[in-house]
Symmetry: C2
Subunit: 353 residues, 2 copies
DNA sequence: ACCTGCCGCTGTACCGGTACAGTCTTTACC
DNA sequence: GGTAAAGACTGTACCGGTACAGCGGCAGGT
């Protein structure tokens, strides 16, 4: 797909081609496109006519970008392969928000996914004016690459301790609310389902090992919600499996449901995982919510359609995206924001059996 | 967000800066990054060390692109505002496919949405090596803009009569299968639900006015499926409303359900519209499928979860995206493809009352 | 001793634009 | 009639790289 003077095609029509054909300087042609007030209307028309005739569609955007120093688009750095990103309702909603923000300002949007092995290459080569970082772990080559580019960037769901402009929700508070809800229903035996495979066997272990701010905070929130009820966080079992999707939740939940002291409530890090928990329970004939309460986090569209509908935390995914773009464009003046969440109680939770 | 020598920041570190600091030519620094075999390993290390020290993160991607003539990313031109695109399961799946194709080849992906009033501007300024066009109408300024750019492009769901490389499904055949299914169930009184507001009152009218190839073909397919059963296509009512989503379907269906001679089967152009039809029926206490059969098109994930689950046409959205990318990169050699579809019969259709 | 070939590095000429500071006319005004 | 200001173009110097053709020096072969 290279374009470098393909031998079979015409030898590239540029500003200079048009200038020569019209008999004016390159600048005048450039001005015809960019500063109509700098030349007479008649000449401008003539320039356009010749351009049309020669199949010139206007200044080359790459050259223009180099010269002007602005690309007119922003990059969205995702910690996922795009394949994963588009499979997750929460991420899609977020993408949607970013897209809406970009669109409203006439900016293009470039997706910079994770491609294993190429680490930071896509970040280094992205033709953008700034980045929005979504779900990038605390220590990551891409993070360094973004810093190195020297472009403005905004982090979504990053640790407030880090020195960057952020969009966050109160993960800890929301998680605490979930735990409190379950405690109020009388639950005392809990299980937690997390993505990936890197977590320890208990809540306390996991909290120390979390690589994403979001996970660490939610774990802390659950702890804060459970401990007042006398639950020993260091004995709450954590189950994990590879991946982040429904299947991950199903596999992880199996571990919790097959143990002797089966939990009466399972708290999942996300709705996707929680839907997997529901599946695992169904497979075992465990009735939700009567024998087992399940909670998610995100309130993706599917959560309300699940069987039973999922008790979860609603967070403004879309707004996170649009706010990130807003902050990105505000530049120096940008202040980090924390967006509100809401506990949505549906039918997947009920009093402990 | 401009970067043009912001007065407060260091005056841009470039290849030349590093070259001077190391005491070599610019070319040598460039080679250190691009052609390691062109200089001694020691010197290369020294270059990198100095670069690191001076905060130089490698060759500027825009300049490199200009010089090399390749951006390393592809553009996806959507007929929708991104806001709409991300709300539709079919489009998201397609996006996903394009993203996967790009990702597999280490290419970036730029989204080029529709922004009213800016017509073709985003196409003109997109920093890409080629375009995939999705759902762009037959005659459209963006289409011309893409042609004018002189870059390779692939159309998805375009009229085969048009001179371009395409990815298609057999819309007509699939639609015919839907109609035949309903006819076989004994239905003879039909209604059709289309998006937008531009269609005539009957099937025959609509067929003439369709602006998208997809719509025209599906209308033709329905006709071909219905006529053998003696249904007069020129009397089949068409209902439309603004938009393309569930609400559009609900409004359009209202028109059909409130008429004296209520149809026993409603055929919708898409699943999203069909879900709206289901809503409209529910509001009126009309039982689906016993009093009314409903069909969609797309088999989006929600279709199977609808109440009742939707009879629809499954099409390989994801594959459409990945094939489009494949064809784009094949260049000259690319041959248009037609992907298979499948009628998926679920619970929203049953024998006519 | 001489030629050859390779290695490691450099110089120059682009890639296709835009910014900015002129220059040369015209027109406007007192 | 003289000067100032406005209008219409142009020339030059970048933007930050890369391609490609050299060029000197040294090792190996004869």
């Amino acid at each position: 797909m290279t374009r470098r003077r393909p031998s079979h095609s015409r030898p590239a029509v540029t500003l200079a081609t048009i200038a020569e054909a019209v008999g004016v300087s390159r600048m005048t042609v450039s001005n015809a496109y960019n500063r109509p007030d700098q030349l007479s209307p008649e000449l401008r028309e003539r320039v356009f006519a010749v351009a049309q005739e020669l199949g010139y569609s206007g200044p080359n955007p790459v050259a223009r970008t180099l010269s002007r120093g602005e690309t007119g688009s922003i990059g969205l750095v995702l910690d996922y392969a795009l394949t994963t990103a588009f499979s997750d309702g929460a991420t899609v909603a977020f993408l949607h928000g970013v897209a809406a923000g970009a669109e409203a300002r006439g900016l293009g949007l470039s997706l910079v996914p994770r491609i294993d092995g190429r680490h930071a290459a896509l970040v280094q080569s992205a033709l953008v004016d700034g980045f929005v970082l979504y779900c990038v772990p605390e220590h990551d080559p891409r993070m360094d690459a973004v810093r190195a580019r020297g472009l403005p960037f905004v982090g979504v769901d990053f640790d407030p301790a880090r020195d960057l402009v952020r969009v966050n929700i109160d993960d800890r508070g929301a998680a605490r609310a979930t735990a409190a809800h379950l405690v109020a229903l009388g639950h005392r035996r809990f299980g937690v389902v997390l993505p990936y495979e890197t977590y320890g066997p208990t809540g306390a272990d996991a909290e120390g090992r979390a690589t994403h701010h979001v996970e660490r905070e939610r774990l802390a929130g659950w702890r804060e919600g459970l401990e007042p009820a006398g639950v020993d966080w260091s004995t709450v079992p954590i189950a994990t499996a590879a991946g982040t999707g429904v299947e991950t939740g199903r596999l992880a939940a199996a571990e919790l449901l097959d143990r002797a002291e089966r939990p009466t409530a399972i708290i999942a890090l996300s709705d996707a995982l929680a839907m997997g928990v529901l599946e695992a329970a169904r497979e075992r004939g465990i009735a939700v919510p009567h024998q087992l309460s399940v909670t998610g986090f995100d309130d993706v569209p599917e959560a309300a359609l699940a069987d039973p509908p999922l008790t979860t935390i609603r967070q403004p995914h879309h707004k996170k995206g649009s706010e990130a773009v807003r902050l990105l464009l505000e530049g120096e003046a940008a202040q980090s924001v924390v967006l509100p969440t809401e506990l949505v109680v549906r039918a997947s939770t009920s009093p402990a059996p």
